[in-house]
């Protein structure tokens, strides 16, 4: 079934979330939100368990009454199964940088800051690294600043961390035992050679020939109908940019 690149990403996010019961989505993250909503809708159709989706910054789509610290308390208690992180830089060891490039503290390029990453990366079992841009500028060998480390030494309390890295061009898994990414699939129209070229770090399975699977007709119809409508409540502009059911 023909779908757009963004629809492929949303569908892939829903696959990466398979089995979670509570997923938290940061502010201004329409595609992770769409992926989570798709999982919720598909689970319901298949009679699987309910999925709670908490969208931070939204009053309607989160039930926290304990202020913005409640998310972090929930994460520390194991009440959140999945979360998303982006980052100005992501390196081959799974380190993320949301702070800046070109020196610290007087970074020549300064981004917003680490937000909750230095904490949630340790505590949420399935952190999905999501960044549409796939370039050696973003996917670097070594980040300039570690907002949150990909792996931790023995003795450091850690039950969470990177699970996968999804870009507009490919899907990687993260191998926590060796602290390296593995190419799992290449999106339609791309080759492994292109992915090697576009990636600033070395990774395993770098001749991967698996193509990222897209949604079937029923799933695509669900995305273009119900999910698009649900998404429009929080992200009207983004929802309008997605294809509509005919």
């Amino acid at each position: 079934m023909e779908c757009t690149n963004r629809e492929l990403l949303i569908y892939t996010i829903s696959r990466l979330l398979s089995g979670v019961r509570h997923v938290a989505v940061g502010m201004s993250s329409p595609m992770p939100a769409a992926g989570a909503m798709l999982l919720r809708a598909r689970n319901k159709k298949q009679g699987l368990g309910d999925v709670q989706v908490s969208i931070l910054g939204s009053v309607k789509h989160n039930s926290f009454t304990g202020g913005s610290e409640e998310l972090f308390d929930c994460a520390a208690q194991g009440r959140i199964d999945a979360f998303f992180l982006g980052g100005g830089q992501i390196d081959g060891k799974g380190n993320v940088n949301l702070v800046g490039a070109g020196g610290y503290p007087n970074s020549q390029v300064r981004w917003s800051g680490s937000y909750g990453s230095a904490y949630l990366y340790f505590l949420v079992p399935r952190v999905i690294l999501f960044r549409e841009e796939h370039s050696p500028r973003v996917l670097v060998d070594q980040v300039d600043f570690i907002s949150a480390p990909g792996v931790s030494a023995e003795g450091v309390y850690r039950r969470g961390g990177p699970h996968a890295l999804l870009t507009k061009a490919a899907l990687f898994s993260f191998q926590r035992d060796i602290g390296r990414f593995r190419l799992e699939s290449v999106h339609p129209g791309r080759s492994a050679a292109e992915i090697r070229e576009m990636t600033g770090f070395l990774f395993d399975n770098d001749h991967c020939e698996v193509v990222t699977p897209g949604p079937d007709a029923a799933t695509l119809a669900l995305m273009r109908g119900q999910i698009r409508t649900e998404l429009a409540e929080t992200y009207p502009q983004f929802a309008a940019s997605l294809p509509e059911a005919v």
Partner: protein
């Protein structure tokens, strides 16, 4: 006793050099008061963001009012990066205390409880830790095989927030914004601007009481309608996205920032 004052009088009660606790944009931010502080020429602030900052913090930085900035992030949301913040970092004009959101809450919780520090998960191995002399790695006293971070208490001298409503006794309705309640509990003084002041006590209504900051924490209240414009106020009015975009474009240069501040006053 809570004092009831004008916004201008409230601005005059906030001196230069204090540790100032602020809310995120849209959750109790008060750009109109920030403008009054800037017009008064306030300097050398240590700003604590609870736990992130937006346009009002960027304005304070652009005006040269900030010496130290303690925050997990500064962003204009959909309008993009905070221009005065990025410029001040590049030029080394502010001392930056990068944090992570729950560590700010942990520090405020320590101050709220009157203890010197609070333990917190995560953070070990992050470069954020390297530049924080007020955070340390220690051993769990109950399990010596485990290391854990402790963060020092954060006690702002003054918290400055905007809220939907106060009553004439000085109680302030915050609803589910418990992080603002935490900020007020942790701070030595709290100054609140509100959309309206009601006659009936907010504590008399059992349905409201749990979301009310009691007057004992509130130093002064000023009625200041629309004071959260353009950043918005939960359950009252939305973010004025177009205005924030206008600011984001203007503030790309110091001259543009000055022109914006001189030209745009308020929507009220």
């Amino acid at each position: 006793m809570t004092e009831f004052v004008s916004p201008e009088a409230m601005a005059a009660m906030i001196p230069s050099g204090v540790k100032l606790g602020l809310a995120p944009d849209g959750s109790g931010s008060c750009p109109a008061m920030i403008r009054l502080l800037i017009e008064r020429g306030i300097r050398d602030l240590h700003v604590v963001c609870t736990p992130i900052g937006g346009m009002q913090v960027d304005m304070l930085i652009g005006a040269g009012s900030v010496a130290v900035l303690e925050t997990s992030a500064v962003s204009l949301g959909e309008a993009g990066g905070a221009p005065c913040f990025a410029r001040a970092i590049r030029n080394g004009e502010i001392r930056m205390l990068d944090a992570t959101c729950p560590a700010v809450f942990a520090g405020l919780s320590a101050a709220e409880k009157g203890v010197p520090f609070m333990p917190i998960r995560g953070i070990i191995g992050s470069d954020v830790l390297k530049s924080r002399s007020d955070w340390k790695i220690t051993t769990n006293p109950f399990d010596e095989s485990e290391t854990i971070v402790v963060v020092s208490a954060i006690q702002p001298d003054i918290a400055l927030i905007h809220a939907p409503e106060a009553d004439r006794f000085g109680n302030v309705r915050l609803g589910r914004r418990r992080e603002i309640m935490l900020l007020a509990h942790a701070s030595k003084k709290t100054f609140v601007t509100v959309e309206r002041i009601s006659d009936a006590s907010l504590l008399d209504d059992e349905k409201l009481a749990a979301g009310v900051l009691p007057a004992m924490y509130v130093t002064a209240v000023a009625e200041y309608r629309n004071a959260a414009w353009p950043t918005g106020l939960y359950a009252e009015y939305e973010l004025d996205a177009r205005e924030v975009e206008t600011y984001a474009r203007a503030a790309r240069t110091p001259e543009g920032f000055q022109a914006y501040m001189a030209g745009t006053k308020s929507a009220a």
